[in-house]
Symmetry: C2
Subunit: 80 residues, 2 copies
């Protein structure tokens, strides 16, 4: 089973990396960009097990290691 995990900064948290990318895109000629936010993406392969159990495990992984829940949000999808 494969979990796709997206970690993003919460709304209102400054994102200097995103701002830098936005400026770089602007200087490359992409002018019609409002905002860029940078985040992290993880693919975790989980050995067998039921989908419900995998969901609970991935939630724990995010809370304990993958996301800093003070400033970051996370979402994930479990796929076969």
């Amino acid at each position: 089973m494969k979990a796709k995990i997206f970690v993003t900064l919460k709304k209102g948290v400054l994102d200097p990396q995103g701002k830098t990318i936005q400026k770089a895109l602007g200087s490359l000629g992409f002018k019609n960009i409002d905002d860029v936010r940078a985040g992290k993406y993880f693919e975790v392969n989980i050995k067998n097990g039921a989908k419900k159990k995998a969901e609970a495990e991935v939630k724990k992984m995010c809370e304990r290691l993958l996301a800093n829940t003070v400033i970051e949000d996370y979402t994930f999808k479990i796929e076969k």
Copy 2:
């Protein structure tokens, strides 16, 4: 319009960051993990414009700045 962009290392490219996360998860007690791959995630807000045009723009952004296409793959979704 919002583009969600995922950049991942190509298959076969070593991913030390992923391996480190896998070990860290293992030491936290998550033992039934096969593999972890780390990637990047970007949200780009594009001002107005048609969806087709936005798709072409985002593809160019990925090729020119967001992904290193020698070692990375990218996928994206355009949302309203």
